[in-house]
Symmetry: C2
Subunit: 476 residues, 2 copies
């Protein structure tokens, strides 16, 4: 890490916008904002600003634009690709939205909530709950991640199957542009065909086109019925067949369909306190099936029972259990959500966040396993995730007794193997985590020149000074 | 209309790309392509080209780009805002996708269909039907409108409530850029966070940023249960209350909720053969409620009965009938879909396609009625549409016995009144039809300067020569 500086006079002009107490300058105060969750990146910054209003954000961006100062927007700092981390060896100023954390308005009749970009996801859940509504985005980091970041990365999570990503959950945005201008696109409309879709351009652009300071999000009625089942399966092919049945039977009442391997159950039962194998005998694969119904509790129960019955009859599932209480349902989800953490005590883990068309999941799993084991015999593949979305977190734990550092050193090589197979199936090398710094060069290598060119043209059109989260997603 | 020409040498170069028989030059052949459905625009063009492949489209665009020739993409020519009509007094070349009408691939396991941009919507319905699937976009013009145009205008229709607009129904695109380059974005992925959302930028850009030559669309399981009810109501406020109940009770099984006024029922029973008032006594307002369930036929029946029961108990509906057969269901929908046609024999009609947040519908209806009747006493307001989407086709028939020409001459004045009220409620002046030529200047007048500026920057970045459907949506 290189220590970086900013001319004192300029630094003080930035500080003056938010006031001394909302400007961090000590490296010890800045430190937590310079590293991301997995420790893959350690950036440098001379200054962190915590504006309290959209106007203050705009003033910061005007000054940055005038002076060519790079700005890195940061919300909950929970991103997994280094998108929110300042560059190393530069003097990026961090703009944190943590003080802009208000619920601006909530309307349970129109089913919308309007929030600041720095509002914590869990606070949105709670605000919705208070008016008997539900906001469906559900993530492991929901206690600390913030809406601006969720939108900037088009966050996914476990409820995408029925409700979609953040893109589908957002009606309108307020964005401060790199030039410091404010775009008020806080519309609450379900239908609006008036010009280019600026909203969806900002969503998923990872803070490189502007700073999302406010958003109108959709709310939903709280489901009356909720059932969760855990099924033991022979193969991903059987999981796919079961998913197809579930999809046909339940339609959008199917709110989750997660795939897990035996080794994931072993890791979680071994390392996560309180987790027990829900089934008596071991199975090579498992599915967690989540059904939510809005008309009645009985519908969900009938659905889950019918699905399992059909699954047994068709021979696509070997054993299954239905959670009989809310605490049992939570325990099943806890097991699934702990799977990544449960890998840590097992040594190094090389991770992928990929998607393929749902129908290709079994073939992809087979091909990827061959490729990885060919490169690293004994590697323990713990591939789990959102089968219903075609999205697998293809994680690989080191062989038992292997050297962790030597294993992790092969991250790029293994990425190349797995991503090569993903691309053969028409898949994506980043299903939900985004590009950031981690996958920027890889994206540039796999995408057609015209696509990168269009992205660069947009970037230049929106950020002519090149100051908005530079070095992330695409280089100009 | 001014007759326009193109230098013969240039014209022959364009013709050579598609071959003589796929180039129309006679004004009598061109005529049907120069006018749009409502007769609001009559453009001019020296040449219509019918390319048969994406490569031919690209060759046309390269030549157009090199020579500064304006190109107007056209598919089914069913648009309602003049977006597909060549300009008057210019020499725009029409590029028709009508020969590119193939279904390229269909995968009922992954629930996707890949089609040419010129594929007719009804052909997509039929192809889906053949593999026991359903493509939900449903429009009055589905026998002639084509997918490229549906995507270019982000088409809506009657199934948006449960399935969304075209934007929500599309996974990937193939686009020929104004420069003649081809962007292959034909991805089939449900989740893909790799860079800027080019797909959604092209969708809804009305052919001003590129030509959509191919698309990957989502398919859905065919519903097992389908119920349609027709209810007599006292007011839009009661309709809103009934919608809220329906929404909570049915969730995404609520596939349609249409509002209609008494005068609309009078017009349809008077002018559309075979249409009869489904209820014994007249009511000021009506709702058409459509429920589709994927688990069983019984669920739909229970839902519709429970909803009407609850509605009666709460006093929000006065009378109701449930269609008892498929033909009765079709008859109810036919009445709703004929409402615009049924206005024609009643004289001139000034039309609006607006949306407001759903909870504001009753207040909007009241304010708009006051405004319109104040300007034109005796005007007959036939406002109907997709209440569940907040989208009302606010149509106004002339007073009985008034002069049609004099009435239609007040189109702009009445637009201003209605749109002013719409904007007061945070609404949209074009909920589903788009901007085209009709609303371009009005959009420029109501939108903040920064938003128009961002649209212009995108337009210039994608179409530096300014040849792609010029004069539509936004002027540079």
């Amino acid at each position: 890490m290189t220590t970086t500086t900013l001319p004192t006079e300029l630094l003080l002009r930035f500080v003056a916008i938010v006031g001394e107490k909302n400007a961090l300058r000590e490296q010890s105060d800045l430190e937590p904002h310079l590293v991301e969750n997995r420790g893959l990146y350690h950036g440098a910054s001379p200054l962190l600003l915590r504006p309290g209003t959209t106007e203050e954000v705009a003033a910061i961006m005007r000054l940055a634009s005038d002076t060519g100062t790079a700005i890195v927007p940061q919300t909950g700092n929970t991103g997994l690709v280094g998108g929110q981390t300042p560059r190393s060896g530069a003097s990026d100023v961090i703009l944190s939205l943590e003080r802009m954390n208000r619920v601006r308005d909530i309307d349970p009749v129109a089913n919308v909530i309007v929030v600041d970009g720095g509002c914590i996801l869990d606070e949105v859940h709670k605000a919705a709950e208070k008016v008997e509504r539900m906001f469906p985005l559900s993530l492991g980091s929901q206690g600390s991640c913030r809406i601006g970041g969720n939108l900037a990365t088009n966050a996914g999570g476990t409820a995408v199957l029925a409700y979609g990503n953040m893109r589908q959950l957002c009606l309108g945005l307020e964005v401060v542009l790199p030039t410091g201008e404010i775009w008020d696109g806080l519309r609450r409309l379900k239908k609006d065909n008036t010009g280019y879709d600026l909203r969806d351009l900002f969503i998923g652009s990872e803070g490189t086109l502007g700073i999302i300071t406010g958003a109108v999000l959709k709310l939903f009625p709280k489901p009356l019925g909720h059932q969760v089942a855990f099924a033991g399966l022979d193969s991903p092919a059987d999981a796919l067949k079961l998913f197809e049945r579930a999809s046909t039977l339940c339609g959008t009442a199917l709110t989750g369909f997660e795939l897990m391997p035996r080794i994931g159950i072993e890791f979680t039962t071994r390392h996560i306190p309180g987790v027990r194998d829900p089934l008596e005998a071991p199975h090579p694969w498992y599915a967690l099936i989540d059904i939510s119904t809005s008309d009645s509790a009985e519908t969900a129960q009938t659905m889950i029972e019918t699905l399992l019955e059909q699954g047994f009859e068709a021979g696509v599932l070997q054993d299954a259990v239905i959670a009989s209480s809310e605490s049992q349902r939570q325990a099943l989800w806890h097991m699934r959500e702990s799977m990544s953490d449960a890998q840590k005590p097992e040594g190094g883990s090389i991770k992928h966040d990929v998607s393929v068309p749902v129908s290709h999941i079994p073939d992809f799993m087979e091909a990827a396993e061959k490729g990885v084991l060919n490169a690293i015999p004994g590697a323990r593949i713990c591939a789990f995730g959102h089968l219903g979305d075609g999205n697998i977190h293809y994680n690989i734990s080191q062989p038992v007794g292997a050297d962790k550092t030597a294993f992790i050193a092969r991250w790029r090589e293994i990425n190349e193997i797995v991503h090569g197979i993903v691309l053969n199936f028409g898949g994506s090398i980043s299903a939900e985590h985004g590009i950031g710094q981690l996958k920027r060069d890889e994206l540039a290598a796999i995408r057609p020149a015209i696509e990168l060119d269009l992205m660069r043209r947009i970037k230049t059109a929106f950020d002519p000074a090149g100051i908005m989260n530079p070095g992330k997603v695409v280089t100009v």
